[in-house]
């Protein structure tokens, strides 16, 4: 019943993409932010970025929206707009101080996620990107449940090359299978570092068990791409700027752009197939 109510509310959303990992700190929010910027570069598209990491909401800072507050109107909560065609919602906007901690157990977190889906006046959107916290718990179960009547195009799963990450990401892939969430593909982030001085490559997070490539082969999921480490990425995130605009020549930028394009193509194909069925 909840899902049906939410489907009504989200009927003007063409594509929903979840950004997941099993592991923390691999670059989910970074990727979600850049995916949002990348898709919104087409001014004819309306993009929404929903941050459901209730304990560690990184999106406001990364989008340059720290300190913004949410406004209520007759039609619900207003997302905070970065551009005319790019709106954002996060628990971060509901906190009055950067020291405020959200120390909630599961049920309360679920309640807020439902509100985000039900009470935010998103309007008509082409892409809804949902950034998630690490793990396979309340937030993940809830978002999948609440969106079960709507169409989720699929999940993009982020990892880093080393086994310590992959062992958690395999669990996330299994979670997706369990809840019948299609997997668009995997992104291997922090994939090597090229020293700016001597140009030699170091594997700071070594792919001792074959990295994402081997894992994707074994589990029969697509590898969407590999993104190298670039100190400018963290800097841009901290400044709330789009890394893609700040460092257009970086190899990391071309990697990200290729990945974003593949996601777009997947969504378009998905839409086309759905229309054919209908």
């Amino acid at each position: 019943a909840e899902a049906a109510e939410l489907r009504e509310r989200l009927r003007c959303v063409k594509h929903i993409v979840l950004v997941l990992s099993g592991k923390g700190g691999v670059g989910k929010s970074t990727f979600s932010a850049l995916l949002a910027h990348g898709l919104a570069a087409d001014e004819t598209k309306q993009v929404a970025l929903l941050d459901i990491d209730i304990c560690g909401p990184s999106i406001p800072k990364m989008m340059g929206l720290e300190g913004e507050q949410v406004h209520q109107s007759g039609s619900g909560w207003s997302p905070v707009y970065v551009e005319e065609n790019l709106g954002v919602m996060s628990v971060g906007f509901l906190l009055s101080s950067p020291d405020d901690a959200v120390i909630w157990r599961g049920p309360k977190k679920n309640g807020l996620i439902k509100q985000f889906l039900r009470d935010v006046d998103w309007g008509e959107i082409d892409y809804l990107i949902v950034d998630t916290p690490p793990g396979t718990s309340d937030e993940h179960l809830s978002i999948v449940q609440y969106l079960s009547a709507s169409r989720i195009d699929g999940a993009v799963i982020i990892t880093t090359p080393q086994e310590v990450s992959l062992q958690d990401v395999r669990k996330e892939i299994n979670f997706c299978h369990k809840v019948k969430l299609p997997i668009i593909g995997v992104v291997e982030n922090m994939s090597g570092f090229i020293c700016p001085k001597c140009k030699n490559e170091s594997q700071i997070f070594p792919p001792t068990t074959g990295g994402a490539e081997k894992m994707c082969q074994n589990l029969n999921v697509s590898l969407l791409g590999k993104v190298p480490l670039d100190p400018q990425i963290g800097k841009s995130c901290d400044k709330g700027q789009s890394f893609l605009s700040e460092a257009p020549e970086s190899p990391a930028t071309s990697s990200y752009r290729n990945i974003i394009q593949r996601i777009q193509e997947y969504c378009d194909l998905h839409h086309f197939q759905e229309e054919k069925i209908m």
Binding site: G106, T136, S137, D138, T160, P196
Partner: protein, 266 residues
């Protein structure tokens, strides 16, 4: 009936608000350093969704056995100087996701705190998942009667991480958990080929946060591919790579914890 934690001299938690900053790494290296100093150490891994600790000691295929007083922790060595408990040992298939909501997680955490037969330990390190939610609330509540020494907070230098760790500091304040200090991990990378230092994840944020919050700064640990490799292979970095770039900072953190513990004992 004697509590399973009665023989544990000092309990400390390793927290962050942020994921992927090195909590399990710091927990592991701290345990190895303390062992090097002749201490008996246990690690309780309460990250139920992403248990990293077993692999870091190369015991991921071990099983857990029961005894009269509860679960027997997994020993990583013959001398039984480091023992571990993690959900990782209880999973039939390592790739199976533990997809539990809060209440079920809370129940297991209570069991982990009460039912592991640790025996005599100098230190019990509790490694946690990122966030400020069920696991953290339950763990702190369950450990309260044992008066933890305090918490080490781990961050990486950049603002996005520090932002989450500020919230974790609030959590500590609200729950009455003493902050032993902040560790700034992944703080700079020295190229092994040319020795150029690049601040891949920025620099100084952890130190600044410690100053701002009035808590001790335990040190900056640089990115060290030998450390990452050791963790991947379940090796003893402290024993095997004393000349590696991360060693001095990690050894210094352990020394400060030892000092803290002796101060409290006296």
């Amino acid at each position: 009936e004697r509590s399973n934690l009665a023989g544990v001299r000092h309990v400390l938690l390793v927290l962050s608000g942020k994921g992927g900053v090195g909590k399990s790494t710091v927990s592991t290296e701290l345990a190895l350093s303390l062992r090097q100093s002749g201490k008996k150490v246990g690690i309780l891994d309460v990250d139920l969704c992403g248990p990293s600790i077993p692999r870091m000691f190369k015991v991921q295929d071990n099983d857990v056995h029961q005894c009269d007083s509860g679960w027997v922790p997994v020993f990583v060595d013959q001398e039984k100087s480091i023992s571990l408990m993690s959900i990782g040992f209880l999973l039939e298939k390592p790739d199976d996701a533990v997809v539990w909501r809060g209440p079920k997680k809370n129940a297991l955490i209570k069991q982990f705190v009460a039912d592991v037969a640790w025996g005599e330990l100098d230190f019990l390190i509790v490694d946690t998942p990122p966030g400020t939610s069920d696991e953290h609330i339950s763990t702190v509540e369950a450990l309260r009667p044992y008066k933890p020494l305090g918490a080490i907070l781990v961050t990486t230098p950049q603002a996005v991480s520090v932002g989450d760790v500020r919230r974790e500091l609030t959590f500590c304040k609200k729950t009455g958990l003493r902050v032993l200090g902040i560790v700034e991990n992944m703080s700079g990378f020295v190229c092994p080929h040319c020795s150029e230092c690049t601040n891949i994840f920025s620099k100084g944020g952890g130190e600044e946060l410690a100053k701002h919050a009035g808590v001790p700064f335990l040190g900056s640990v640089p990115l060290d591919p030998q450390l990452s490799q050791s963790l991947e292979e379940g090796r003893d970095f402290i024993q095997e790579f004393p000349k590696s770039s991360a060693f001095p900072a990690l050894a210094h953190i352990a020394q400060q914890i030892l000092d803290c513990a002796s101060q409290r004992s006296s």
